[in-house]
């Protein structure tokens, strides 16, 4: 039975997340945008609160535990609204508050997502409750993550990691860093594994923190790995290199995290639209849903067009999460959601700044900040172009060798 409304059972969660966003995140939004690299200590209390209520509630940040596949699909064909949907709804609300702060929410890192998605039961227990960042990108390998050069060589019962990692979100603050490395560079993507590295590991050396366009509340670290020794049991997935399996486990993470990043973009987009609508109403411009767009004020017509894109991004995101809840393969829809939400949030944020004029552009309001924050959402967890490649390959039935 078709219904694209938020189910009643998630309403308390959404309202809770919204209160956190408006009472905790928004008030400190500008503070940590200006004080880049300063740790937002207000989040410690919030994180404990979230830990307290998080037992399956789905309230959490990017790395909330609710992306694991096992509990999906009860097999009876009944429709399920589960943790994927609730998590994405919660992320939308929190990112309506502040994307940067959500990204640096303790114990909610993207590394936690990776662990939740591919770790063994034993590892899951061992890393439970610890904050994990994710280190994939290297100076010479961004979207082309199969080309990473960081190596992992087995030496006794430890792997020895060597290489360089950049753009590690929460890299300074997290307790663990999930590092992608190759077991054998000649075997391509099939040899890529992720390793859970203690932040205190002496072989993991913090090089610098980046100064960024947006999401300044979230620290972005660069690391060097110099003979970084990691216990073999901290490798995620199997040690066997199965060329047929390709990326296997490592890439699965993305099917799970892309709807979440799309959800972040959706939350930010809504923040922009709400602020702009309020400002336009003060200026006497009101949208009319019955009259054709072209007979309305140009600003109202523009708002309607942006809202339509927002709604498409939102529903695509909910669809991808809903498919995961129901055990349906969703990598096509996850990428569709990420592509639409990523480009929509940038277009809408920049459009809203334009509509609001100097009120949108100045630091007196948050629109200019949101417009800066927006851009990363069309880049990380797979750029717009990577999402289009994935969607195109799936629609056209092409391999990554045919369509590069």
């Amino acid at each position: 039975m078709i219904s694209l409304e938020i189910p009643k059972k998630f309403k308390p969660l959404v309202s809770q997340a919204h209160q956190v966003a408006s009472e905790v995140l928004r008030p400190i939004s500008r503070k940590y945008d200006l004080a880049e690299h300063e740790y937002p200590k207000e989040l410690d209390l919030l994180a404990s609160l979230i830990d307290g209520v998080n037992e399956g509630s789905g309230l959490g940040g990017a790395g909330a535990a609710g992306v694991r596949r096992e509990d999906n699909g009860s097999g009876d064909g009944a429709n399920r609204n589960g943790s994927n949907l609730s998590t994405v709804l919660s992320v939308m609300e929190l990112c309506w508050g502040d994307v940067g702060l959500v990204l640096t929410m303790p114990r909610q890192g993207l590394g936690n997502s990776a662990i939740a998605s591919v770790a063994s039961e034993e590892q899951l227990t061992r890393f439970d409750g610890r904050w994990a960042a994710m280190a994939i990108t290297e100076p010479e390998a961004g979207s082309d993550s199969a080309a990473i050069r960081t190596t992992a060589v087995l030496d006794g019962d430890e792997y020895v990691l060597n290489g360089e990692k950049i753009y590690v979100t929460s890299g300074e603050r997290a307790e663990l860093v999930v590092v992608w490395a190759t077991l054998d560079r000649s075997k391509g993507r099939a040899a890529i594994r992720s390793f859970v590295v203690e932040r205190s590991n002496p072989g993991l050396k913090l090089d610098r923190l980046e100064h960024k366009l947006g999401i300044r509340a979230s620290d972005t670290a660069a690391f060097r790995l110099e003979d970084c020794r990691v216990p073999a049991e901290d490798m995620l997935g199997s040690a066997q290199i199965d060329v047929k399996q390709g990326f296997g486990g490592a890439m699965q993470t993305f099917d799970n995290t892309r709807p979440l990043v799309a959800g972040m973009a959706v939350g930010l987009t809504r923040a922009c639209l709400e602020e702009t609508r309020a400002q336009l109403e003060q200026a006497g411009v009101q949208e009319d849903h019955a009259a054709p767009a072209l007979t309305q004020h140009a600003a109202a017509a523009r708002m309607q067009a942006m809202e339509a894109d927002y709604e498409a991004a939102r529903l695509l995101t909910l669809q991808a999460a809903w498919m995961a809840d129901n055990g349906r393969p969703n990598s096509l829809h996850a990428s569709m959601a990420k592509a639409k939400a990523g480009r929509t949030c940038v277009e809408v944020a920049l459009g809203c700044v334009e509509l609001c004029g100097s009120l949108g552009y100045s630091e007196n309001g948050l629109l200019e900040k949101w417009a800066r924050d927006a851009k990363i959402l069309d880049i990380f967890e797979g750029t717009q172009q990577i999402q289009l490649l994935i969607v195109a390959r799936q629609l056209l039935g092409k391999s990554s060798a045919d369509l590069r």
Partner: protein
Amino acid sequence: MNATERGMGLSLRALNRLAGSQLLDRVGQRERVERWVYRGARGGFRAATVAGRSFSAAAKLARPARQAPARAPELFDITPNEEQRMLSEAIGAFAAEKVRPAALAADGACATPAEILAQAGELGIATLGIPEELGGFMAERSAVTGVLVGEALAHGDMGIALAALAPGAVAGALGLWGDAEQQATYLPAFTGDDVPTAALALLEPAPLFNPLKPATRARAEEGEWVLSGVKSLVPRGAEAELLVIAADAEGLGPALFIVESSTAGLFTEPEPAMGLRAAATARLILNDVRLPGAALLGEGSIAVYQECLQRARLAWCALAVGTGQAVLDYVIPYVNERVAFGEPISNRQAVAFAVANIGIELEGMRLLTYRAAARADSGKSFDREAALARRLCAEQAARIGSEGVQLLGGHGFVKEHPVERWYRDLRAAGVMEGALLV
């Protein structure tokens, strides 16, 4: 002089004035205009609307019958129910086997073959909005079902879909807003074997047309309504037997009127357009069309009028989604097989990304349309959702139509492939008002 004779007189007068014009010779347009006049005259040029059948009230119910609203589902779900799935599959098969093969010829002929219309009638698509008490077969009112049917049929062809669905819009309007008398008079005909040709006429020939402010006026005169104005792109308008027409009703604002085609003062002329040609679109001219007071639908309520507007827009969204899907399904094998520079053109990102973007935007259009329709079904407000669906479909449908031709290059521009028709048809999303209803 009866209505038909008056109509003939009018069109002859118009012909005569054209024939005598020196202007045509001066600008070297005589031949073109004569061809146009010939085509017009063949279709009656401007003719009185068909005399049609006479409608009279059969057994009248004490109260108007209404389909029950659907239950509001508790969970988020994008799966159609069993009934919807079966209906949509049956219509999908009909669209693939009968509609698509007939589409090219129907587009050229500006008419949908009677056989196709009869088969569509057998599928019951005109009766979706008719309450069971009055012979309909759907107990629940469902805009989602209407959307799924429109989508499936338009995957075959948008023009034929419009031709086939047009009578259902009138039946649906009567089912939703007709009083007991109106329902008893008109609805039985729609559940029989010979479904009347009927059309819901909202659109008018004006730039920036706003259906909330129709130029067609309805004067109140001694308990009767007198309508004057022009309606544009009315599907199968020339043969319509029953019409629901939007007019600005004196003292009420925009409202809907039930008009039998035999009413004096009603004329049609062919109005073929860029696309939707299989639906034989026509202009409708109302010259002091006098209607009984009981012709007013939904008691002239503005809420009814706005709901009609939004339900029509959703139906157009559904057709855009179906035709957009047809484009996507057609271009995928084409770009995979077409070789240039030694490999399939789909190996190039410029081509592959265009396909990806069709897929992404189409899915967005579909979800927005479903959401608005599902909200309508569960009795929630849906004006915002319908407006947003309309906005997205207006923009993206035209873009998908354009990309469809672009991906085939020169081959897309010739009628050997259907993409040039879809280019023309998909522009209708965002232009059309009324004509359909879910």
